[in-house]
């Protein structure tokens, strides 16, 4: 159940969803464990000593003003920062206990376990079918034609796009609307059956109706994946997430159950941000 009010606005008192904000069952080991993570872009110290536990099968939102390091931290989790020249990551990030920055971990296979959705929908300029089939093909998950067909269908259904595109799978993915493209990209990510899906402001380029569709989808997917979402919309964080982490100037200020962060923040900076006084 998603509450569709005040979308895309920084409401001083966000409406908090009923289902979405239940805390995960206590005692379950965290899916992602970050300890003392520091990130430098050349001489710029972008992320300062962040330690954070992210539970599986739930939605964790990263909020904070622009340049606070939330996207930087997100990109550490699938090592996309590796592609940025001059970027250096220190500390330890564990995925189910494995250090993902260990030399024995191949970023290519890590990214099969940790999928990512970007701010701007970026389907490949190929057909809808090929967009979804690309990941399984390169990872060799499905070799038979029928197996691949089934996987594409299942992924599109899970992304809530099958009904709209099942009769034009050969049409270019770039011909879809923005919201459909974003769901296609989500289908592409879940086709390789990752454990974690990272979303970097997935709705910031979409209209309110497409945003609502994506939020519903995130809600559905939360039962199967560990989802981490970076968002500028506090209303969105309040609607879709169970945990929220607030970043400010490269530091993790506060983290906790979403309901707590939005109704009873401990830190003054969080208080100022969510009430719209800063940020």
């Amino acid at each position: 159940m998603v509450v569709k009010v005040n979308m895309q606005t920084s409401a001083p008192t966000p409406v908090v969803g009923t289902h979405a904000n239940q805390a995960p069952p206590a005692g379950e080991p965290a899916k992602i464990t970050a300890r003392d993570v520091n990130v430098y872009y050349g001489a710029n110290h972008a992320l300062k000593s962040v330690s954070l536990d992210i539970p599986g099968k739930s939605v964790t939102a990263f909020i904070g003003p622009s340049g606070c390091g939330k996207s930087t931290f997100l990109r550490c989790i699938n090592r996309m920062n590796d592609t940025i020249p001059g970027c250096r990551v220190e500390g330890r990030i564990g995925l189910d206990g494995d250090d993902i920055y260990d030399p024995s971990i191949d970023p290519v296979s890590l990214r099969a376990r940790v999928g990512m959705v970007f701010q701007k929908p970026n389907p490949f300029p190929k057909s809808i079918y090929d967009n979804v089939a690309y990941g399984p093909r390169i990872h060799g998950l499905e070799t038979s034609k029928t197996g691949l067909d089934d996987l594409v269908e299942a992924s599109l259904k899970r992304a809530g796009l099958w009904g709209e595109v099942h009769d034009r799978l050969k049409a270019p993915g770039t011909g879809l609307s923005g919201g459909q493209q974003q769901r296609l990209v989500i289908a592409r990510a879940i086709a390789v059956n990752p454990e974690v899906i990272l979303m970097d402001e997935p709705c910031s380029a979409l209209d309110p109706i497409a945003t609502a569709r994506i939020e519903e989808l995130i809600d559905d997917l939360a039962s199967q994946f560990c989802i981490v979402i970076v968002t500028h919309s506090m209303a969105q964080a309040a609607r879709v997430s169970q945990q929220t982490a607030f970043f400010h100037l490269g530091s993790l200020v506060e983290t906790g159950p979403t309901g707590m962060i939005f109704t009873n923040p401990k830190d003054g900076r969080t208080q100022d941000y969510i009430t719209g006084r800063t940020g």
């Binding site: 990214r111 970007f118 970026n122 300029p125 690309y134 990872h139």
Partner: protein
């Protein structure tokens, strides 16, 4: 409205519009000047060259006098003289003691007819003693007279044909033995010292063979170098140095590449002088920097979000580049390749250095044999003393331009077609 007129911006408004109008006018003027030059240039070439595409041929019954043909040495006999006699006979004139009549007559008819008779006699010696009809071009000077470019009004001493020859040409025309028609020889022959026999085909084939060599070297090497530099190379001092040098190489005068080819390929490595292979290698070196720059620009134009998307789904770097980036850059790469090849097609200076300036009468058939190419052929004809070569120079330029237009149009079509796909 009075409010608007009193606004402080109003007094500058007129000035701003005037500046805009002035700027537009400068633009139109520049375009007009450029177009005028283009029209003058092309107009001059076409006006001078179009007459090459028609020619006058003559049909003559030639008596193969057994007394004048040496059966033991068919190739050594003088068939041109037989043709001259046939001309005199057709005109009702007779040879004089000094042979001036036949000499004047032989200046009117191409030696092609004599060669035709030789071929026929060789094929069938039984023809000796009979009269056969041969058809072939008139001499280039006679052709120019028929086309009105040699005028009777010019003083006799100042033209290549005397009054008697002009009268003979008039009478031949009147007798119906001379026909105007399409100059197929120009498109089917190689170069020749006789203008009416000279053709562009040898140079066109030479150009095609040389461009093939250039394409086979420059495209794969250029594309791979660009992909490595753009997608894989570490960004450090060395790659910066390489990049700066590639950009500088693109600006090096082409004759320097010719010198390099001469010194390295011919003198040191012993590559065959004046061959399509050597010329092609030299032009490939010249085309490489442009090829690399164009390919890198095409790769750079692929949005980074596509790379991110592929990497985030777990594609390796190589897969990202070859599954996504290169296919998207392909129209740009192809356009760059064709444009740098058409630039190579028009190149003359470096080819002069590697010996492609020699007179090559045949159609080149080997990559290591001597050959000439279109722009060099134009250069050779331009330097020739015979007047008829002037119009062939212009016609050669027209053929060269046609080649360029075809190549550039191909580039545009390819680009449009692949860009429209998504």
């Amino acid at each position: 409205m009075t409010d608007a007129a009193q606004h402080p911006s109003a007094k500058h408004l007129k000035k701003r519009y005037a500046a805009e109008a002035r700027f537009k006018m400068y633009g139109r003027l520049a375009i007009t000047i450029a177009l005028a030059f283009l029209v003058i240039l092309l107009g001059r070439i076409v006006l001078q060259g179009y007459s090459t595409f028609t020619t006058n041929t003559v049909s003559l019954p030639v008596y193969l006098d057994p007394a004048r043909i040496d059966r033991a040495d068919l190739s050594g006999s003088n068939y041109d003289y037989l043709v001259s006699l046939a001309v005199l006979k057709a005109l009702g004139e007779t040879e004089d003691e000094l042979g001036t009549m036949s000499e004047d007559a032989s200046a009117l008819i191409s030696r092609d007819l004599g060669f035709q008779i030789l071929d026929k006699v060789k094929a069938d010696p039984g023809l000796i003693g009979k009269t056969i009809t041969v058809t072939g071009p008139v001499k280039a000077d006679a052709d120019l007279y028929y086309k009105g470019e040699i005028k009777r009004s010019v003083a006799e001493g100042n033209r290549k044909l005397n009054d008697r020859q002009l009268t003979w040409l008039d009478r031949l025309k009147k007798s119906g033995r001379v026909h105007g028609g399409f100059n197929s020889a120009f498109f089917t022959h190689g170069d020749s010292t006789e203008p009416e026999q000279a053709g562009i085909l040898g140079a066109a084939v030479g150009s095609a063979m040389m461009l093939l060599v250039t394409a086979l070297i420059a495209i794969p090497v250029g594309v791979m170098a660009a992909i490595w530099l753009e997608e894989f190379a570490p960004k450090n001092g060395w790659t910066d140095l390489i990049e700066v040098n590639i950009n500088n190489l693109a600006a090096v005068p082409s004759i320097v590449y010719g010198l390099l080819g001469l010194a390295v390929f011919i003198n040191w490595l012993g590559a065959p002088r004046g061959s399509p292979l050597t010329g092609g290698i030299v032009l490939a070196l010249m085309a490489l920097p442009t090829m690399i720059i164009a390919t890198r620009a095409a790769l750079k134009a692929v949005p980074p979000s596509i790379r991110d998307g592929a990497l985030a789904i777990g594609a390796s770097r190589t897969q990202t580049v070859f599954h996504h980036v290169v296919p998207l850059a392909r129209p740009g790469i192809m356009t760059g390749a064709i444009l740098s090849l058409s630039h190579a097609l028009g190149e003359t200076a470096p080819l002069l250095m590697v010996g492609m300036v020699a007179f090559v009468p045949g159609i080149p058939s080997s990559f290591i044999g001597g050959a000439t190419v279109l722009p060099v052929q134009v250069f050779i004809w331009e330097n020739a003393s015979e007047r008829a070569f002037a119009e062939r120079t212009a016609a050669g330029i027209m053929v060269l331009l046609a080649f360029m237009i075809v190549m550039n149009a191909t580039a545009i079509i390819l680009r449009r077609r692949y860009e429209r796909r998504w």
